[in-house]
């Protein structure tokens, strides 16, 4: 059976790896060895074929040769790095359906031994008898996670004096530090968002939260056979999210034929997040069309294109080129013809008035400008959904333009946020901190307003 790239880890794909300390990292399965820093490293071929969402443990052979350890007792950065370079053996957790990176129950149960903290005196780091170098030694010897934790606990004077809750917290913290396991996730937009949030790179995607993204897509009524007009200032994240709703990663379904047209600020837009989408180049080329603001607002008609062609190609007439049969064209002529065809296509797209099923906007441009100039491309009765990091630009757009015009209906400004809870039975409470700004949305419908005076 071939590998299903959408549900299973494939060759030459981008994947996201979640580490025990809730960090997310993007890797490519084409690289031979994947290094996870202190969590170990492994051969990427070992994980290919497993379903996304699988948790793997990295196992190393435990070294018992103490002499070797004494010799290498200097823990310089270099020796650490050398250690990382040895890939361990991958073991998927086959019998666990929950697949979480949380601390395993047996480590917890084994180590509980207290009920009250009335004897606890806070000694800070003195309570721990193991030195950093001792712990490094344990790590270097590839001692199994639960053994390291056990060692740390037995050498901690205060551990037995802590309450059960505090012991659990302590164990979880140590587990996050010493366990060698990871979870592989698909590079879906939702996971890329987590990755960016984790990298503290939300500015790249305008601080949009998952809930705002979902709301924007729902309000835009994304369907697999629709044509959508987008303005994307998020490095391709919005485009990928729309594509995901339309196609879900599958490229070969002929009943789905939706397209995306993107209005860009520059001739060559920076869409670095789109590369993680794992779609093929041809598919992206076929589905997404890019038009710069100049191309859409100052289109050249076919005559002008032909004139420009003449100017660029030493008075060569495009009609002469068209007459030549396809298989007799030289590569240079073919390139020239392609250029011409592309320009004609751009012209045709720029004449697609009343064509698109939604206008999905995330842009740095003045919003009023955007809507005013591009609304004619949207089918009447279809939604316009604008995302902005701040409320005030949306307010100005709504009050100064949309409400004054009779071409827009149902103007609404929205904010949504998701309040996460710590979800452990008996200990459910809202998390102490959450993301404060997930952005604002404005939605309205383009309509065809009438002039009352025409009706008398």
């Amino acid at each position: 059976m071939a590998i299903d790239h959408i549900t299973h880890i494939g060759k030459d794909n981008y994947i996201i790896i979640q580490l025990p300390n809730d960090l997310y990292k993007i890797y490519h399965t084409g690289t031979e060895v994947i290094h996870l820093g202190k969590y170990g490293s492994f051969y990427s071929k070992d994980i290919i074929g497993y379903p996304y969402g699988t948790v793997f443990d990295i196992a190393y052979d435990e070294k018992n040769d103490t002499a070797d350890v004494v010799l290498n007792h200097n823990f310089t950065k270099k020796s650490k790095k050398e250690q990382q370079h040895q890939p361990g053996i991958i073991k998927p957790r086959l019998n666990d359906t929950s697949q979480t990176l949380e601390i395993t129950e047996d480590i917890l149960v084994e180590n509980f031994n207290s009920e009250s903290n009335k004897l606890l005196i806070d000694k800070g780091s003195e309570a721990q008898k193991l030195k950093t170098s001792d712990i490094e030694l344990l790590k270097k010897n590839n001692v199994n996670t639960s053994k390291i934790i056990k060692n740390i606990i037995t050498n901690n004077e205060n551990f037995n004096l802590k309450t059960k809750q505090s012991q659990e917290k302590y164990l979880v913290r140590k587990f996050k530090k010493f366990s060698k396991c990871f979870k592989v996730e698909r590079c879906s937009p939702q996971n890329i968002l987590k990755f960016l949030m984790d990298k503290n790179d939300m500015i790249r995607i305008n601080d949009i939260s998952l809930e705002s993204m979902g709301l924007q897509l729902n309000l835009s009524n994304i369907q697999s056979n629709g044509n959508y007009l987008l303005m994307d200032e998020t490095g391709g994240f919005l485009i990928y999210s729309v594509l995901e709703r339309m196609y879900g990663g599958r490229e070969d379904d002929e009943t789905k034929n939706g397209t995306i047209t993107v209005i860009t600020e520059t001739e060559h837009p920076q869409l670095d997040l789109l590369k993680y989408s794992n779609y093929s180049e041809e598919f992206l080329k076929k589905t997404i069309k890019y038009l710069s603001v100049m191309e859409i607002l100052k289109p050249q008609n076919e005559e002008e294109i032909a004139a420009e062609f003449k100017l660029l190609n030493q008075n060569l007439d495009i009609n002469d080129l068209k007459k030549i049969e396809k298989d007799k064209l030289t590569p240079l002529q073919q390139r020239k013809l392609n250029w011409y065809n592309k320009q004609v296509q751009i012209y045709q797209i720029s004449q697609n008035f009343n064509h698109y099923d939604a206008f999905v906007v995330q842009t740095d441009f003045e919003l009023k400008d955007c809507i005013q100039r591009f609304h004619k491309f949207i089918k009447p009765g279809c939604p316009i959904v604008v995302f902005c990091k701040f409320r005030e630009p949306l307010l100005d757009l709504s009050n100064e333009y949309l409400m004054k015009s009779n071409n827009y209906l149902n103007v609404k400004i929205m904010q949504t946020y998701c309040r996460p809870y710590q979800t452990k039975r008996g200990k459910i409470h809202p998390l102490m901190t959450m993301k404060s700004n997930g952005g604002w949305l404005l939605s309205c419908y383009r309509v065809l307003g009438i002039d009352p005076s025409d009706y008398i």
Partner: protein, 429 residues
């Protein structure tokens, strides 16, 4: 327990069911919810949404000789047919319609404005699941767009997903799922509600059965399989297909923990990939029991969240400068002083008048002038329009833009509990 939940649902239903103008036996043209081809024209027998106001959106099937009554008067369906979607349709109401409410005011002697004709209008829109959510007849508490969009995004529902939904309810979420997913299996234990929902899906061209029967051509939109079933007792397996192969489950049930073990049956969920679940419960106790059941059945990554969505409206706030108020006060003071002087003069003039004992009243006399000592209304300095009826945003005044939150917010809809599971970890070669 389950009784309490029912109560909560009943109380929380805030909006009354709107009048529905689709007759039960009617079957409008299929594909109402699918994007139109390029012509975008409203045709006879189309299901459309008539937008009357923000809180009044009505579903309607158009007939050649149909009529629709709104507060802006009667509109003929033939006025709508042939127009483009998104068209505004307006008319001047006749004067008795405009003045209907004001008759008693006249009796009280309130001055009537000019008998001006009032312009009323409606908009005709193509149905979308989100607009449908605002207009649909409420049979139960419904899931609003803030929640449903998060559920769709978080469960990573896309055009390849098979989704299971238990508790069809009013079908608001079913429409949104159906739009985004490959196939939707929806279950409702209340027989009448199931029939109503089924009819609705049929009218909207969303039933998978109709695709099989050849009544609807679009495979991507006709994707709902609805069953009358108590999933807590009888599980999820259906007759229509052998293997549901579900990717995502949404449980809007009073006791989701009773349904969760049924998901383990082979054929219900996709066994070889990561599957996701979302349980929608208003009460904390339900969440607790749900988490217990999820853990027992091997679900991981359990997280409960709450969605808080807010609607705002752009409004205007008058800009009032203190200096203007100072000017108003000094203006008043000046006039008052002038008035005092004038009063004295008036008194004197009256005395003179009485002394003279003239019978005819001379209009141009000082008396008249002093009596009406006030400056005309429009000459007074009145920067904030005091005493006048001012429309928000009147161009004579200065305004700043403000956002006003809706007057009543939904502070709690339900807790959403998400979890993940992979049944078998099989390596593909």
């Amino acid at each position: 327990m389950s009784e309490n939940v029912e109560e909560f649902h009943a109380e929380a239903s805030p909006t009354p069911a709107p009048a529905i103008e689709i007759k039960n036996h009617e079957l409008p043209n299929p594909g109402s919810f699918v994007h139109t081809s390029d012509d975008n024209i409203v045709k006879e027998n189309d299901l459309v949404l008539i937008y009357i106001s923000k809180t009044n959106i009505r579903p309607l099937v158009l007939h050649k000789d149909g009529r629709m009554n709104t507060k802006y008067g009667t509109f003929l369906h033939s006025e709508i047919i042939g127009k483009e979607y998104g068209s505004q349709i307006g008319k001047y109401m006749n004067s008795n319609q405009v003045n209907r409410g004001r008759k008693h005011q006249k009796k009280n002697g309130v001055q009537e404005e000019d008998d001006e004709k009032k312009f009323g209008f409606i908009h005709v829109l193509k149905p979308t699941p989100e607009l449908w959510t605002l207009s649909l007849p409420h049979r139960t508490q419904i899931v609003y767009t803030f929640d449903s969009s998060y559920i769709t995004e978080r469960m990573q529902i896309n055009s390849l997903s098979n989704v299971l939904e238990a508790g069809t309810g009013s079908g608001s979420l079913s429409h949104q799922f159906s739009r985004s997913c490959k196939r939707l299996f929806t279950y409702e234990f209340h027989e009448v509600r199931k029939q109503q929902a089924e009819l609705e899906f049929k009218q909207h061209g969303l039933l998978y059965q109709d695709f099989l029967d050849g009544k609807v051509k679009d495979k991507n939109s006709a994707n709902i399989i609805i069953n009358h079933r108590d999933v807590c007792k009888d599980g999820f397996l259906v007759d229509q297909v052998e293997n549901i192969n579900g990717d995502a489950v949404f449980l809007d049930l009073p006791a989701p923990w009773e349904a969760i073990p049924h998901l383990n049956k082979p054929g219900v969920l996709n066994q070889n990939k990561q599957v996701r679940i979302c349980c929608f419960s208003p009460c904390f106790e339900q969440v607790d029991k749900t988490i217990e059941a999820l853990e027992e059945n091997g679900w991981g990554g359990i997280e409960m969240v709450e969605i808080q969505g807010r609607n705002f409206e752009g409004r205007k706030r008058m800009v009032k400068y203190i200096d203007d108020a100072v000017k108003v006060l000094s203006d008043q003071k000046e006039r008052r002083n002038l008035g005092a002087v004038n009063y004295k003069k008036l008194k004197k003039a009256r005395q003179d008048f009485e002394n003279k004992n003239v019978t005819e009243i001379d209009e141009s006399s000082d008396l008249k002038r002093y009596k009406t000592n006030t400056t005309p209304k429009d000459e007074k300095f009145n920067p904030f329009g005091k005493g006048l009826r001012i429309k928000e945003g009147d161009t004579k005044y200065q305004w700043s833009n403000v956002a006003k939150i809706e007057s009543e917010i939904k502070s709690h809809t339900s807790y959403l509990t998400f979890a993940l599971k992979i049944f078998n970890i099989d390596r593909q070669e």
